[in-house]
C-alpha cells in the first residue's frame, strides 16, 4: 500500500492545476488554427507544443540548473531568446528569402511601408491609456507591424513577461490578414481608386540590389543604431542571396538555419505560456489592442497612398498601401485579390510587394526607436 502510494506520488497528477487544464483548451484551439486553418503553422505549431509542455507537470524540461545538476532542455534552448540570438538569425534567413526588387524599382513605396507603422504608435498610446507601462505598451504596439521575429525581439527586451501573448497575437493576426484587411481597404477607397493600374516594374540589376543591401545597412544603422542587429542580419542574408557567388551560404540561410531556429524559437516562446502568465486579463487586452494596431496600420497605409496621389502624376493604387504592415507575402496577396475584385485585369501583386518588404524595414526601425528610448532605462 505504501509502495502504491509512493508510486502515485511519483506521478505528476498532484501538480496539475486548474490553469493548466484551461490552457489545454487554449492549446487545442491554437493547434486547430495552425493545422486546420493553416494560421502560420511554422510558428504556431511549435508555439502550441511548447505551451503544452509548459502546462504539464514536466521534469527536466524547463527547470533551471541547480548546482551540478543540468537544467532542463528548454532552459538552455530558450537562452536563444533571452540572449536575443534567435530573432536576428531568423532575419538572416528572411533576408536570404526576400527579394527587395519591387521596392528598389519603385522606391516611393517606402513611404507606404512607413505610414503603416502609425498603428504601432496609436496602439502604444492606447496601451498607455489602459494602464500598461511604456515598455509594455511599445511591445504591444509592435504587433501592428505584423513582424513576428521583431515582436519577439522587442518584447523580450522591454516586456519579457508579455512575450507569449504578444507572439501569439503577432502570428495569429498575421494569419488573419486576409480577413482583417479587406473591409478597411474597401471602406477607405473609392471604386475608381481601386481600379488604378500601375505600370509594370522595371528590372533591377544585381548591382543595384547589392548596393541597396549595403545602403539600407549603413543608413538605418546610422539613423537608428538600436535596430542594428535586426537590420544587419536581414541585409547580410539579402546580400548573400543577391551576390550570386555564395549560393551555398544562401541556401544554408534559407533552409537549415532558419528551419532549425524556427523550431527552437517557436517552442521557446510556447514554453513561456504558462497558465498563470497567459490566463490574465492583460492577455485579452493585448489581443484586443493587437487587432486595433493591425486595423490602424492597414488604414494609414491606404490613406498615405491617397495622400501621395494628391502630389504624384503617376498614381498609386491605394490598395497596395495596406501591404505596408508586412506580413510578407500575405498582405501583398490581399492587395492583389482586392485589386482583381475591382478590375480582373489588374495585377497589383508585385507592386504590393514594395510596401510589403518596406514594412519589414519600417517595423525594425520602430523597434529600434523603442529600444533606444526604453531599452536603456
Amino acid at each position: 500500500m505504501d509502495e502504491l502510494f509512493a508510486l502515485a506520488s511519483l506521478t505528476g497528477f498532484g501538480h496539475v492545476t486548474v490553469e493548466m487544464v484551461v490552457m489545454w483548451f487554449v492549446i487545442v484551439g491554437l493547434f486547430y488554427l495552425a493545422v486546420a486553418k493553416n494560421f502560420e503553422p511554422l510558428l504556431l505549431v511549435p508555439i502550441a507544443f511548447g505551451a503544452l509542455l509548459a502546462n504539464l507537470p514536466t521534469e527536466g524540461v524547463i527547470n533551471e540548473p541547480i548546482g551540478e545538476a543540468a537544467g532542463g532542455l528548454y532552459y538552455y534552448i530558450s537562452q536563444g531568446i533571452h540572449l536575443e540570438l534567435f530573432p536576428p538569425l531568423i532575419f538572416l534567413g528572411v533576408g536570404a528569402l526576400t527579394d527587395f526588387g519591387p521596392v528598389i524599382a519603385n522606391p516611393r513605396t517606402f513611404l507606404l511601408g512607413a505610414a503603416a507603422q502609425f498603428g504601432v504608435f496609436a496602439t502604444f498610446l492606447g496601451a498607455i491609456v489602459i494602464g500598461f507601462s511604456p515598455e509594455q505598451a511599445g511591445a504591444i504596439g509592435i504587433i501592428g507591424g505584423a513582424d513576428g521575429p521583431t515582436s519577439i525581439f522587442l518584447s523580450n527586451k522591454l516586456a519579457p513577461e508579455l512575450l507569449a501573448p504578444i507572439a501569439v497575437a503577432a502570428y495569429s493576426y498575421m494569419a488573419l490578414v486576409p480577413l482583417l484587411q479587406p473591409p478597411i481597404m474597401r471602406a477607405l477607397t473609392t471604386e475608381n481608386e481601386r481600379k488604378i493600374k500601375m505600370r509594370s516594374l522595371r528590372q533591377v540589376s544585381r548591382l543595384e540590389k547589392l548596393a541597396f543591401a549595403l545602403t539600407v545597412t549603413v543608413l538605418v544603422i546610422l539613423l537608428v543604431p538600436a535596430a542594428s542587429a535586426l537590420i544587419g542580419m536581414l541585409m547580410l542574408g539579402n546580400f548573400i542571396r543577391e551576390c550570386g557567388v555564395a549560393e551555398r551560404l544562401s541556401k544554408a540561410s534559407q533552409n537549415e538555419l532558419i528551419n532549425v531556429v524556427t523550431i527552437f524559437l517557436g517552442t521557446s516562446v510556447g514554453i513561456t505560456m504558462t497558465g498563470e502568465r497567459f490566463l490574465q486579463i492583460e492577455t485579452l487586452s493585448i489581443l484586443a489592442l493587437g487587432v486595433v494596431a493591425f486595423g490602424i496600420s492597414t488604414g494609414t497605409g491606404v490613406i498615405m497612398a491617397k495622400v501621395m496621389n494628391l502630389f504624384l502624376t503617376e498614381k498609386i493604387n491605394p490598395l497596395i498601401g495596406s501591404a505596408g504592415v508586412s506580413a510578407v507575402p500575405m498582405a501583398a496577396r490581399v492587395s492583389q485579390v482586392e485589386g482583381q475584385r475591382a478590375d480582373p485585369s489588374n495585377f497589383l501583386l508585385m507592386h504590393a510587394m514594395g510596401p510589403n518588404v518596406a514594412g519589414v524595414i519600417g517595423t525594425a526601425v520602430v523597434a529600434g526607436y523603442f529600444i533606444a528610448v526604453f531599452g536603456a532605462g
Partner: protein
Amino acid sequence: MTEYVVFSLSGFGLVMLVLSALWITCALLGLILGPRSKPAAPKVASPPPAPSPSPVAKGVPAAHVAAITAAVAAVTGGRARVVRVLAPAHGTTDWGQAGRHQLMANRRVRGGWAPIPAVSQKTSLISPTGGSRSS
C-alpha cells in the same frame, strides 16, 4: 500623457524620415546603377512573367521550363538539354502561381553583374508531341 503623444509623433516622424531617406537613396541608386533610359511608354501592368504564347510550350509556363532546365543542368553540368516537358494546358489560380514564382525566385542561380537573364525559351523547349524533336 502629452509626453507619450510627443514621443509617438517623434517616433512616427523618425520612421517617415528613415524610409524617406531610403526612398531618396534608392532613387539615386536607380539613376546611377539602373537601366540607362527610362522605359519609353508607360506600359500598363500585365501579369508579371507574362507567359508569352509560344507555339510549342502551350500549357507549360516558361518559368517551369526554366526550373526543370536548371535542375537538369545542375545534374549534368550544363551539357544535357531538356527536350520535352509535357503538361496539360489547364489553368490554376494566380495565387498558386504567385507563391511558386516567389519560391522559384529564391532558387534562381545568377552570374555576372548583369540583371538576371531571362531563361531563353528557345534553348530549352518542351514540345507536347512525341516525335517532333528528331525532325
